[in-house]
Symmetry: C2
DNA sequence: CGGAAGGTCCCCCTTTTGGGGGAGGAGGGG
DNA sequence: CCCCTCCTCCCCCAAAAGGGGGACCTTCCG
């Protein structure tokens, strides 16, 4: 008997999974959580073999849950069930120990198959996800140009990304504006960009500053 | 008897809704669609009283379906069931004729209530959604600063947002660089921004250029 | 110990940017 | 018809930005 814990903030999803899994003879849904905060406690109490985990939830999201879970090696097998499959999230989730990463668009029998696979430590991936992993392993380290930057340069780039001028950056980071210029120049050179405007766009793309938080000053 | 059509690309969601609604005596699920493309045909064939519509779907999304549906006034009542509730989408969906806008986190009995309400033309909204609508009606037109801009200025701002310098913009838009400077100055003045970098961030926030398409040149 | 890398600041220089005018032409509405 | 907005380009000018040096310090590592 495979015991399963369902973690998803969507009521209909929980009901649907409970219904689908309940029809299998060898699978038993032992509990469900509507948010990430109570997952750790539920796992400790119920000792499920498999956790079906939603990615996007209010409060503590799936990645946060995985991070805390990763600490203990004897934990349950985790299957991520996501609404939208975003590359970085897939990578991060698997890095953090998830066995399978499925979209909610997946046919239910594949979900059931993933549960059975997880119980014995196997993965079930969709073709797109598998391809993504292959990609990653192959060009394992056409590394992010951003980690060419020194810590100080990264701080300066972050300030640029907020839309600040050199003088403001100097004040914010407690250095002379000549120093800021030095850092700006090496940032542009290292990233192959033409000017600070392109640097700001790059910073936003890299998520150095959230788009809706830039410019707020 | 209220006939319902379920439109959602998530298999588990469809199963869940079918299960939940199937337990009600006065509600009958007459069909389901896994993507937006077949919705129009399904409605024509099944003539449902109520459509439960997912927002994010591959191919044709919920808004696109609503847009096409809006053309015919004698259509079914539409309830949007969204994974993530984003303000602009709520407004747009309701503007396009949706009666209710519920998150999938909503308790299932509220969904059932929304179906019964929709059958007689009523709305069921969550508190947050209701508040949003009130907000909109109240400050009905603290308008977007972006429509202070003339068409030409908007084009220049868009180019800035891509990370281009004045000379490039002049070439791209077929004008002198002095003219570009004039437009840049009035853009900055009208938007109350300090320099082109802030203008680029603003343009990205406004969606003039998609973040992942900026800088690509 | 010597060297490399990072951080800080300085100088000089060119280019770009942005503000302040002005001026002509096209089109639109009172 | 005149006025207004928009688009276009021009000039001058100050500030900012960016490139190219160089200098000094610390820390870390072989």
């Amino acid at each position: 008997m495979i015991s399963v814990l369902i973690v998803d903030d969507h009521d209909v999803v929980r009901q649907g999974l409970r219904f689908v899994l309940g029809q299998e003879d060898d699978i038993e849904v032992v509990g469900e959580c509507a948010d990430g905060a109570r997952v750790l406690a539920a796992i400790a109490a119920l000792r499920p073999d498999v956790v079906l985990l939603d990615m996007v939830m209010p409060g503590k999201d799936g990645l946060a849950v995985l991070r805390e879970l990763g600490a203990e090696p004897e934990g349950p097998a985790v299957i991520v069930l996501a609404s939208l499959v975003e590359d970085e999230q897939v990578i991060e989730a698997i890095r953090l120990g998830a066995l399978s990463y499925l979209a909610k668009t997946t046919a239910v029998d594949r979900v059931v198959a993933a549960v059975r696979a997880a119980a014995v430590g196997d993965s079930v991936l969709e073709p797109g996800t598998a391809a993504l992993l292959v990609q990653r392993v192959r060009r394992n380290r056409r590394r992010n140009p951003i980690d060419l930057l020194t810590p100080r340069e990264l701080q300066v780039l972050t300030e640029i990304t907020r839309g600040r001028a050199n003088a403001e950056i100097a004040r914010a980071l407690g250095m002379g504006r000549e120093t800021v210029k030095t850092h700006v120049s090496s940032v542009l050179a290292k990233l192959g960009l033409a000017d600070r405007t392109q640097a700001a766009i790059f910073g936003l793309q890299q998520g150095l500053v959230r788009l809706d938080e830039a410019l707020d000053t």
